[in-house]
Symmetry: C2
């Protein structure tokens, strides 16, 4: 069995970041590969009417604490970014363009570095200068990235990504589809692994 895992995420979700640090190794243990698919959660929540957890009174305070504790529990480096939560249109478009122009492997590596820059170094990943520096580390020219982000095709493709995800049943992030079976949340990775073991 070699069907790809579909890994949906929004850079603005710390749980998606935790998942991003583990998904490739988890997949590899079961001879699977991962397709990294950025979405924009606010676009999805607009349709479902869901309220982002950090915005719910009382729950919001708990969630911030849970981010820290969950990171510690799993041994993942994490520091709450100064700007949080943020709208991740620009990094989402950047990744969309990189996937089209440089292939999915480069795009996934870009995503890993964006997550890390945001959640370990506190970089403002909405800023073009930050994204350009990350792209440069992957031998992608800043000018090409900037043009890519601003192209209508990329804007439309990233907009469609959230719509397609929603049609596939994705209502939050991280979200993994494995052989059609849906897993929502980093805390379902144990069940995801059970599924892959049994598949």
């Amino acid at each position: 069995m070699s069907a790809e895992l579909e890994f949906y995420f929004d850079f603005s979700s710390p749980y998606a970041y935790f998942a991003a640090t583990r998904i490739d190794a988890l997949a590899a243990r079961h001879d699977r590969t991962v397709r990294w698919l950025p979405v924009l959660l606010p676009a999805i929540f607009k349709v479902t009417g869901n309220v982002p957890s950090p915005m719910v009174p009382i729950k919001g305070d708990y969630i911030l604490r849970d981010f820290e504790r969950t990171a510690r529990h799993h041994g993942i480096a994490y520091r709450k970014p100064e700007h949080f939560p943020i709208l991740t249109v620009t990094p989402g478009r950047a990744m969309t363009w990189i996937a089209a122009a440089h292939g999915p492997a480069q795009a996934a590596e870009f995503a890993r570095r964006v997550f890390s820059a945001y959640y370990t170094a506190g970089a403002d990943i909405r800023e073009l200068v930050v994204l350009s520096a990350i792209a440069a580390g992957l031998d992608i020219a800043p000018a090409a990235l900037e043009a890519g982000i601003q192209s209508d095709e990329v804007k439309e493709a990233f907009r469609l990504a959230s719509e397609t995800a929603l049609q596939r049943g994705v209502f939050g992030a991280p979200f993994v589809l494995a052989d059609g079976e849906p897993f929502w949340g980093f805390d379902r990775f144990e069940q995801l692994e059970s599924h892959l073991r049994g598949a």
Copy 2:
């Protein structure tokens, strides 16, 4: 260390039921006891503005599937009740009265049996006849239970329970407070156990 764990739940939450099947053994492994505290989630959600997961479009379908899968994953008997979700005012009041009249141990055992009747036998636990039968199994007279449920003191005490819980930071269920540290969800029992191990 022998501080009690505060275990907040609503009979209408399958995740609370899963937690209820494990909380006592988990506590006992660390020489702790459990205080079973029923609340009414809709009263809490009214304050926080949270939307119950089964009511969110798309997410609702996933959650029903996740109940089944999570039960299977942990080897817990579970069958989606015909009436679901329900308003659990009557079983909540019943437990509140039993705790006052017969002590917390009887009340916890009543709660375990109510959960089991609802999630394994599909009994409609809003019905007095169902609650009376469960109480009778604990040598509690149905007439006394019925009078207890209808007393103003019990109604007020159960109403206050959700208010007090909210003041303690409880915004959902299951919710455990261990030495002041909050754990929301059955999927945080691993972190709860880590905490107890380290405390």
